[in-house]
Symmetry: C2
Subunit: 341 residues, 2 copies
DNA sequence: AGTGGTCGCTAAACTGATTTAGCAGAGCAT
DNA sequence: ATGCTCTGCTAAATCAGTTTAGCGACCACT
């Protein structure tokens, strides 16, 4: 891989100058008194030889690698990881950096290994990412350098990038109120564990808070709240069936995520009810299936790609703010309508 | 990030030996005649100082970085990328390597940049991955070192890892024949572009070949074949509606992927037909939605994680074979039943 | 007593960049 | 003529490892 590359010494020789001169010219150093002609010669030589600096040699001296570590708990199990990574990748490229990716799988041994691996490679900074928005403890070892938390917060008050779930909760509730839904709104996806343990999820509580706040302001209270042990389609299905078994049928359903909503759609379909004519449905995440459902599902998007970008910005740009709350835009789709009757 | 780390010189000093001795002991070099006691002292000193080698310095000399580049066309748009990466990540960790990830977005400028970025960092090898199984041309620049194609093949005959789509086609057809379906099997998802241009897809043609081969052997021919411009739910939906409008209703449907099948389910639901009582459905990919559908969808799994692993093995393990075709296991689920009547 | 071999270890070169310290020559003032 | 500053450039040190070449002590053998 890349043997016989021209070295700085080759460039200097070809230009008839010293390595020092070549190095300074190529690095665009200010304040050197090298002649315009010397600049020309160095650039020409570098061009001609196709010179590319050996980054190992450079970072040995400078302790900079133009490399960022992206350490996450779980890469694969969620589709969202891809977007997070892609955003970070883009922003890193714009800043001439590259991403070193490792995964801890939530395992202490792997985490230890991952941290050592990236520190050994002298990365310029670490993005510590969680796949579900949550609070976590950052290993002390990486606190020696710049760290940004992505989709997570920590007790240490490190800079972090998280989605505005509370705002999303407000948007969702407001969208229903706007259409005239009031006393027949039901919620699917309450979950004690997610709501009470910030190390499991910060999203559940924030979404709920946003929903409650907006409904309270309109003096509306929920018709029903269904608890689900997980946020998967089967749980949404079961919850929806439960709701349909009750005397008062809801006019609108808020699901805590799109997968629950998918399950709810299935139950509604079986019961012969139509979305949105009989019941409106709105949700969170903007999983691809939201757009695939019939009718398409209104939801609030987790802007993962933008979050990934933001993390790199916080890490590398001096000017960037300390932390950031990324808005979750509402996607108005076919699953919303005014209440029937 | 990792300043004041102990150096090899520190370890040597503490052990009362030379850097040479320390280096040799720590690298477990055979054939050195260093005493057992010297070994002890070096290990003790390294342990005590928490010594970790500076990889930049090491790779400057050895031209090895224990880093693999994972260059892919598109990371984000498909969920599968995560699994591919995760498999590679795991296998890399087991071999004490780390993954440098870049994305070309199918853009020549970005590709150029990505290639340079990884070559500058002297990666030990490159995994060149495509998100849809296809044929592609590998940039000449990376041919200087080990390269493995992942989910792709190239005219250069480089080692590659691809799923056995033809085998999957056979499994799918065989599963239906086994249940007694014969003259009323329809296919959804024919697509000239995907079938004819290997730079777009290798999967479509291979799947089709597998299906045809198995049906031919049983002297069965397809009842109908629907063409779709894309393999998305809406196209599956439209195709299924088209089929239901014809005089002879199919007893089983083969969809070229799970998203098409999802669309087909929607059309069947609207038409008041049940899967699998009225119509069996089987498909390809094992997208997470396959398990979420009601009834759960039988499909053949793209073993992305295993493919990621395999690519690293081909790249780093001497013993590994040249190329590999990874089996796509059949997932038998609820969407299959014998033909009605 | 001289020679050769093994043992246990080390000095120094080397990788390819950056950076510090400083040199030679020109121009100018005293 | 001497000292001073400025210009344009370079030698050498440095980063932290790996690797080559070889040194001195000791033993055995003739």
């Amino acid at each position: 891989m890349g043997r016989n590359r021209a070295t700085l010494a080759d460039v200097a020789r070809k230009a008839g100058l010293s390595k020092t001169a070549a190095s300074m010219v190529l690095n665009g150093r200010e304040g050197t008194r090298l002649s315009a002609e010397a600049h020309q010669r160095v650039f020409a030589a570098a061009e001609e030889l196709g010179y590319r600096p050996n980054l190992a040699a450079r970072s040995l001296r400078t302790r900079k690698t133009a490399t960022i570590a992206f350490v996450s708990d779980i890469v694969a199990t969620t589709r969202f990881a891809g977007d997070l990574i892609r955003g970070a990748l883009d922003a890193a490229r714009e800043r001439d950096h590259v991403l070193l990716i490792t995964e801890t799988q939530g395992d202490a041994t792997f985490e230890q290994y991952a941290i050592e691996a990236v520190l050994d490679r002298q990365v310029d900074g670490v993005i510590y990412a969680a796949m579900a928005t949550r609070r976590l403890a950052v290993p002390a070892a990486i606190l020696g350098g710049p760290v940004v938390l992505l989709n997570a917060t920590s007790p240490d008050g490190l800079p972090s990038v998280v989605p505005d779930d509370e705002g999303a909760g407000r948007s969702v509730a407001a969208a229903l109120l706007e259409l005239g839904h009031r006393d027949a709104i039901a919620l699917i996806g309450r979950n004690r564990l997610k709501e009470d343990d910030p190390e499991v999820s910060l999203a559940a509580r924030a979404r709920l808070r946003g929903i409650r706040q907006t409904l309270d302001e309109a003096q509306v209270s929920l018709l029903a709240e269904c608890f689900c042990t997980e946020w998967l389609p089967e749980h949404g299905y079961a919850a929806m069936r439960g709701l349909l078994g009750k005397p008062k049928r809801p006019s609108a359903i808020i699901c805590m995520n799109d997968r629950l909503a998918f399950g709810a759609y299935q139950a509604l379909g079986e019961a012969g009810l139509s979305v949105p004519e009989d019941i409106s449905v709105i949700s969170f995440d903007d999983d691809p299936i939201a757009a695939w459902l019939r009718p398409s599902l209104a939801t609030t998007a987790l802007p993962h790609e933008q979050m990934g970008r933001r993390a790199v910005e916080l890490l590398l740009d001096e000017s960037a703010a300390e932390s950031s709350l990324v808005a979750m835009p509402l996607r108005r789709r076919r699953s919303l309508a005014p209440p029937a009757g």
